[in-house]
C-alpha cells in the first residue's frame, strides 16, 4: 500500500518533471535535487538518477531503510561502506535486478519503480559491470560485445563489430577480440565487461565492486578505463573499496551504513575529513587495516 502510494506520487512528480523539461527544452536534464557544487552535465547523453525513500527487504532482513540520494547527469558518485551496508543492493535496485519494497527511482526519463516501466528499454540505457565480470563464456570477446547490439538493437554484424572493436580499443584489448573469456586475466575480463556495456551506448554506468575479485596487479588497468570513462562525461555510480579511485575520480562520495546514507559530500570532505563517527571508524579500518 505504502509502495503504491509513493509510486503514484512520484509518477505525477516525474510527469511534472518531464513537463518542465519540455518547457526548457534544453539538452541537459533538469537539475534534480542536491546537484549544487557539482559540475553540470558534461555530456548531453548522460542520464541522472534520483532515489527517494527507497526500502528493500530480503525476507525479514531490511537491507535498505529509506535511501534518498541523487546522481546528476555526468556526475561520478562512489558508494562506500562496509559489506552488508546495502551498497550493492542499492545499485541493483537502480536497474531493477532487485525490486524495491517502497520508494521511487528515476533514471533519465524512465521511472524504474513504476509498475508499467519498460524494464528492457530502461536497462539498455544503463550499463552494469559486475564484481564477477559475468562475461558469456560460450562466446568470444568480440561476440560478447556484439550479441546484444545485434540481437536486441537489430544492428548488422558489421555495424556491431565496428562499434565493439572501437570500445575494445578504448580499453586497450582490441588484440584479444577473438579470444574466449576464460583465456583472459581477471583484469582483462573486467575491461571487456566495460566495453561490452558501452556498446549499448548507455547513459548511466553502474559498477558493483568492479575490482574486488581481481588480482592486485590488474586492478590499475580497470581503474584507468573507468577514469577515462568518467573524464568523457559518463554518469557513474560506483560501489567500491578503492579509496584512491574515489578520492581522485569521484565528484561525490556517499557513505552507507546499515541500510542508510550516513554521510555524503565531495570526496575530499568525506574521505579526507569525515564528520560522522561511523564514517571515521570505517575509513580508519579501510585505510589503516593494521591499526597502527
Amino acid at each position: 500500500m505504502d509502495a503504491n502510494m509513493s509510486q503514484s506520487q512520484s509518477q505525477s512528480q516525474s510527469q511534472s518533471q518531464s513537463q518542465s523539461q519540455a518547457e526548457t527544452s534544453g539538452p541537459t536534464a533538469p537539475d534534480t535535487a542536491s546537484a549544487k557544487g557539482v559540475p553540470g552535465a558534461r555530456s548531453t547523453s548522460a542520464a541522472g538518477v534520483t532515489i527517494t525513500g527507497l526500502h528493500k527487504s530480503f525476507g525479514d532482513n531490511e537491507v535498505l531503510k529509506g535511501i534518498d540520494m541523487s546522481v546528476a547527469p555526468g556526475e561520478v558518485v562512489c558508494l562506500i561502506g562496509a559489506s552488508g551496508s546495502g551498497k550493492s543492493t542499492l545499485l541493483r535496485c537502480v536497474n531493477r535486478l532487485e525490486t524495491p519494497n517502497a520508494g521511487t527511482i528515476t533514471v533519465g526519463e524512465h521511472e524504474a519503480t513504476h509498475a508499467d516501466v519498460n524494464l528492457d528499454a530502461m536497462r539498455r540505457q544503463i550499463g552494469m559491470v559486475f564484481q564477477q565480470f559475468n562475461l558469456f563464456p560460450h562466446l568470444s570477446v568480440l561476440e560478447n560485445c556484439t550479441i546484444t547490439p545485434r540481437r536486441v538493437l537489430g544492428q548488422s554484424k558489421a555495424e556491431a563489430e565496428t562499434e565493439a572493436l572501437a570500445q575494445l580499443d578504448a580499453v586497450g584489448l582490441q588484440h584479444l577480440s577473438e579470444r574466449r573469456p576464460d583465456q583472459l586475466s581477471g583484469g582483462q575480463q573486467q575491461r571487456v565487461a566495460i566495453a561490452r556495456a558501452l556498446t549499448m551506448k548507455p547513459q548511466l554506468m553502474l559498477f558493483d565492486e568492479p575490482t574486488s575479485a581481481l588480482d592486485p596487479e590488474t586492478v590499475g588497468d580497470v581503474l584507468a578505463s573507468m577514469r577515462k570513462l568518467a573524464q568523457a562525461g559518463m554518469t557513474m555510480l560506483v560501489v567500491t573499496h578503492e579509496m584512491g579511485f574515489a578520492r581522485e575520480v569521484a565528484d561525490r562520495v556517499v557513505f552507507m551504513d546499515q541500510g542508510l546514507v550516513v554521510e555524503e559530500g565531495p570526496a575530499t570532505a568525506v574521505i579526507g575529513d569525515p564528520q560522522q563517527p561511523r564514517t571515521r571508524d570505517f575509513l580508519r579500518r579501510v585505510l589503516n587495516p593494521l591499526g597502527e
Binding site: 559486475f130 559475468n134 560460450h138 536486441v152
Partner: protein
C-alpha cells in the same frame, strides 16, 4: 627396520601381481577351454549371422533407440520446463511423472504398451511404435531431470548480465542460458543414449516379426537356428558395443572439453 614409502609401494605392487598370476594359472588349469570355445565362440556359426545381424538387427536397434531418444528429448524438454514453471500444477504433474517412470522398471512400460494398448484401446501398434514410445516415455523422465539440472547449473550472474544489457527474458534464455546449459548436459545426454540403446532390447518381451527383430531378438533366435551354443548372443553383444563404445568415448571427450562457466 622401518620400510620407506617406496618399499611399501613396491611390496603392494608385488603382492597384487602375485595374486593376479595365481588366479590366471588356476583358471587356465581348471577351465574347460574347448567347452567355452564351442558354446561361446563357435567361429563357424558367426559367418552365417552376417549380414542380417547388421542389416536387420543393428539397424532396428538403432531405429528404436533414435525414435525413443528424439521423442524422449522433446518430452523431457517439456517436462523440465513444467518442473520449473511458476504454475504449481505443472510442477506437481511433472514431478509425479518423473518420479513414477524413474521408479518402475522399463520392462513394465514395454509390456503395458505391447499388450495393454491393444487390450484396452484396440490399437494395433507396430514394433517401432511400441519400442519407440516405450523408450520415449521412460527416457523423457530421465532427460527432464538432466535438462533441469543443466539449466540451473548456468550461474545466476549470466542471466543477470544478459538482462542488465537489456535482453528480454526469452532472449536471455535462448541466447545465453540454453547454449551454456546444452554444453553442460551433452555428456549426461550421451550416457542416456547409451542406456536407451541397451534398453531397446526390452522390446523382446513383446515379441516381433522377423523383419522387425533387433539385436537381442536375433541373438536369441540364432541360438535355435545355428545350434552353436551361445555364440549368437556373443555376436549380438559385440554389435551393441559397436554402438555404445563410440558413444561413451564421445561423452568422455565432451566432458574434458566442457568450458568453465561462471566464476573465475
Amino acid at each position: 627396520m622401518a620400510m620407506t614409502t617406496r618399499d611399501r609401494a613396491r611390496l603392494s605392487l608385488g603382492i597384487q601381481a602375485g595374486i593376479f598370476l595365481a588366479v590366471v594359472i588356476v583358471l587356465a588349469i581348471l577351465i574347460d577351454w574347448t567347452a567355452i570355445r564351442s558354446s561361446f565362440f563357435a567361429v563357424e556359426s558367426i559367418g552365417p549371422m552376417f549380414p542380417e545381424i547388421i542389416t536387420v538387427g543393428l539397424v532396428n536397434t538403432v531405429q528404436y533407440t533414435v525414435v525413443g531418444f528424439v521423442f524422449g528429448l522433446l518430452g523431457g524438454t517439456l517436462l523440465a520446463l513444467m518442473r520449473m514453471s511458476s504454475f504449481p500444477i505443472y510442477r506437481w504433474l511433472a514431478t509425479a511423472y518423473i518420479e513414477f517412470f524413474r521408479g518402475i522398471p522399463a520392462i513394465l512400460v514395454f509390456i503395458a504398451l505391447g499388450f495393454g494398448a491393444s487390450l484396452a484401446f484396440g490399437w494395433n501398434l507396430s514394433t517401432l511404435q511400441i519400442a519407440g514410445s516405450a523408450l520415449a516415455i521412460v527416457a523423457s523422465a530421465y532427460i527432464a531431470e538432466t535438462l533441469r539440472a543443466g539449466l540451473q547449473a548456468v550461474p545466476k550472474g549470466q542471466l543477470e548480465a544478459a538482462r542488465a544489457l537489456g535482453m528480454p527474458a526469452w532472449r536471455a534464455m535462448v541466447t545465453i542460458q540454453i547454449p551454456q546449459a546444452f554444453r553442460i548436459v551433452l555428456p549426461p545426454l550421451t550416457n542416456e543414449a547409451i542406456l536407451l540403446t541397451k534398453d531397446s532390447s526390452l522390446i523382446f518381451v513383446v515379441g516381433m516379426a522377423g523383419g522387425a527383430a533387433e539385436l537381442t531378438k536375433m541373438g536369441r533366435d540364432g541360438i535355435n537356428i545355428y545350434q552353436a551354443g551361445l555364440t549368437p548372443l556373443v555376436v549380438a553383444g559385440f554389435c551393441y558395443l559397436l554402438l555404445t563404445v563410440p558413444l561413451s568415448l564421445l561423452a568422455r571427450r565432451m566432458e574434458h572439453r566442457t568450458p568453465r562457466t561462471g566464476k573465475k
